[in-house]
């Protein structure tokens, strides 16, 4: 197990990158703590796979360094990095039995038979495949195969990190949840550094201690699931995380007074020296729908009942907004005003979060 340090790391598939656009991954400094579970979250093509491939050694970065503990491995081959990877679709050795699959990495490293038997038995117990150890891997279901390819990584005690490249893509929905829970339990038990690439926010938020959100080649925020939810550092994070995402409204601010399209609200913090384009972000969870005259008038377009709550779709200032309403609330015709929980409001300058001074 190891701490992974990315130092001024950047990658471009173009030979002579000139502008930011030429970079698949923009400059990045980060330390992945030993034994933590991370998720790399972002839409398709945001550079998360590039980052994962750099860590695993498939791609050599065009700029910067990557260190395992204090050893520079930037130019080292995958074979020498001692990492494990679980791929998007299950990679198992079809003609081998489950047991042979699990033994394979240890045998190749010339470990002695007694040690191999003991490791395989222990991993088989952890990933719950003891009853199928003597079956050929070919006939197994996708989720069992994924477990085996995970087991092949974990069977090595000294593995530096386990990388997951959207490993639940081909798994049936009901098995996804179970596998994710097992993964989480395995992480607690074995304390490997785990990096989990996904574009599914539920997967990221339930699996990881810390989530790295990426967009167009750039890391926009690294934080705990709660931080990402309450204090998104960028409007992209606010929008991308949450279902539905954060509402973003144009705003003018002086001091603690915020002027929306046709209403004024009082902020809990003082802001000064703001120059760029200003926006106010508020999550649908922190908004309330109320009677006419009690808040800001909106135009409701649709109400969706999604079992445990209702989503009110509405228009304000020519923008779509969403409000989450508890299921037991009866929405009448005259309930067409909104109010915010002002302590949960975030202010963004040129899309980046700005903090004011406490009043």
């Amino acid at each position: 197990m190891a701490r992974i340090t990315l130092s001024k790391l950047a990658h471009s598939y173009v030979k002579d990158p000139k502008s930011d656009k030429d970079y698949a991954l923009r400059e990045l400094n980060h330390e992945w703590e030993d034994g933590a579970a991370y998720a790399l979250l972002g839409p398709s093509g945001c550079g998360k796979s590039t980052l994962l491939n750099i860590i695993s050694g498939i791609v050599t970065p065009s700029h910067g360094r990557i260190l395992f503990d204090d050893i520079d491995v930037t130019f080292e081959d995958t074979t020498d990095r001692n990492i494990a990877q679980v791929f998007q679709f299950p990679v198992v050795y079809d003609t081998m039995t489950v047991q042979q699959n699990l033994e394979f990495p240890l045998k190749n490293r010339g470990k002695d038979a007694k040690y191999i038997a003991q490791r395989v038995a222990s991993i088989a117990r952890s990933i719950q495949v003891e009853d199928i150890l003597h079956k050929k891997a070919r006939g197994l279901s996708a989720d069992q195969k994924q477990k085996i390819s995970l087991g092949r990584g974990m069977v090595r005690e000294d593995v530096n990190a386990i990388l997951f490249d959207e490993p639940l893509t081909v798994i049936d929905p009901h098995m996804k949840w179970e596998l994710r829970t097992q993964l989480k339990a395995l992480h607690k038990e074995l304390k490997h550094t785990m990096i989990f690439v996904t574009h599914d926010q539920t997967e990221a938020l339930t699996f990881a201690d810390k989530v790295v959100v990426m967009n167009v080649g750039e890391v926009v925020q690294i934080g705990t699931p709660q931080e990402l939810f309450e204090k998104p550092a960028h409007t992209f994070v606010g929008y991308f995380i949450g279902s539905p995402g954060m509402n973003i409204l144009d705003v003018e601010i002086s001091g603690n007074q915020a002027k929306l399209f046709d209403a004024n609200v009082e902020l809990t913090q003082n802001y000064s020296g703001l120059k760029g384009k200003l926006e106010l972000g508020i999550r649908p969870e922190f908004m309330t729908l109320c009677e006419e005259g009690q808040g800001i008038k909106i135009e409701i377009t649709r109400i969706e009942d999604v079992a445990h709550h209702k989503i009110v779709r509405a228009r304000y200032d020519n923008k779509d907004i969403n409000i989450i309403v508890q299921e037991d609330v009866v929405i009448t015709k005259t309930m067409n005003n909104m109010t915010f929980d002002m302590s949960k409001v975030n202010i963004y300058e040129n899309s980046w979060l700005v903090e004011g001074e406490k009043i």
Binding site: T78, Q85, F87, Y93, D94, N108, R109, S149, R152
Partner: protein
């Protein structure tokens, strides 16, 4: 589910029955017809029962031809299958050189069979052929028209040159379909080159290899044109394979009855071996599953 009964539907099968009848059954029946009759000429035939079949089964000449045929097929398959796999593994996976290799490899497959025979017939001549002359000049006693070993080696080299490409192309297609993640996983597991071949490439190629082996078996077991052009079955009868012998019997000696019986048994042998081969191979496939 309740099915509608409509006997008129049988008419829909009729076109297929007619087609199969004219293309396969009727021609085959004429052969069956010859195989149980004899003639003294004047287009007068009389039935002889299974006499021809008995004669062919006990004919030393046919036994020898069958022996040569089995030997030939075994040798060329033992060479072409491993060689084809090896060449496919060495070929570049992508880029301009992959295309160049594919075109060059495919060339022998595009040459008409009798032209292949002619090419090698001239190429291997000791007086004017580049290969034959060079080998002879090196002091090796080589002459495919007089020496049995030379004739066999020439025919085998010719067949390997002509048909290994087919195995290469099929294996190459099989290899191309392996996702790169498998190789990546093998690297992570520190698998040796041999293990990558044994546990990733070979299992993924099994399907196409089965087809390649089956095609090579059938084609080589029926080979006629190339050895006919190259050696004409000689020296003596040394390269007289089943097809060559059959043609000699049917057209050379005009023994229609024995030739017909021979054809039928020849056909059944190929059918049987192909069936056994296919069943065994697909069962191995299933067992592993």
């Amino acid at each position: 589910m309740k099915k509608t009964v409509n006997q008129k539907a049988w008419f829909l099968v009729l076109p297929v029955l007619l087609l199969v009848g004219f293309s396969a059954v009727i021609p085959l029946m004429t052969v069956v017809n010859y195989s149980i009759q004899d003639t003294f000429g004047n287009n007068q035939f009389f039935p002889v029962g299974l006499e021809w079949f008995e004669e062919i089964l006990h004919s030393e000449r046919i036994h020898d031809a069958l022996g040569r045929q089995v030997l030939f097929t075994s040798i060329i398959m033992a060479i072409e299958i491993p060689l084809g796999i090896y060449i496919a593994l060495q070929m570049p996976k992508s880029g301009i050189w992959a295309s160049v290799c594919l075109v060059l490899i495919s060339l022998p497959l595009l040459i008409p069979w009798n032209v292949v025979g002619t090419i090698w017939q001239i190429f291997a001549r000791t007086d004017i052929g580049l290969l034959g002359h060079t080998v002879a000049a090196m002091g090796i006693d080589y002459n495919y028209s007089q020496d049995i070993l030379s004739a066999w080696i020439t025919i085998i080299v010719m067949d390997v040159w002509h048909w290994t490409s087919l195995v290469v192309l099929l294996c190459y297609a099989g290899l191309q379909s392996i996702p790169s993640a498998y190789y990546q996983a093998a690297k992570i597991d520190q698998a040796s080159r041999w293990n990558v071949f044994r546990y990733i490439e070979l299992p993924k190629m099994m399907g196409v290899l089965l087809i390649a082996a089956l095609l090579r078996f059938m084609d080589s077991f029926m080979i006629y044109t190339e050895p006919m052009v190259l050696t004409g079955g000689g020296p003596g009868n040394a390269t007289t394979f089943l097809s060559i012998d059959l043609v000699k019997m049917a057209i050379g000696q005009f023994d229609l009855g024995p030739a017909a019986a021979f054809s039928l048994m020849y056909f059944l042998v190929i059918l049987l071996v192909s069936w056994v081969f296919f069943t065994v191979m697909s069962n191995i496939d299933k067992e592993e599953g």
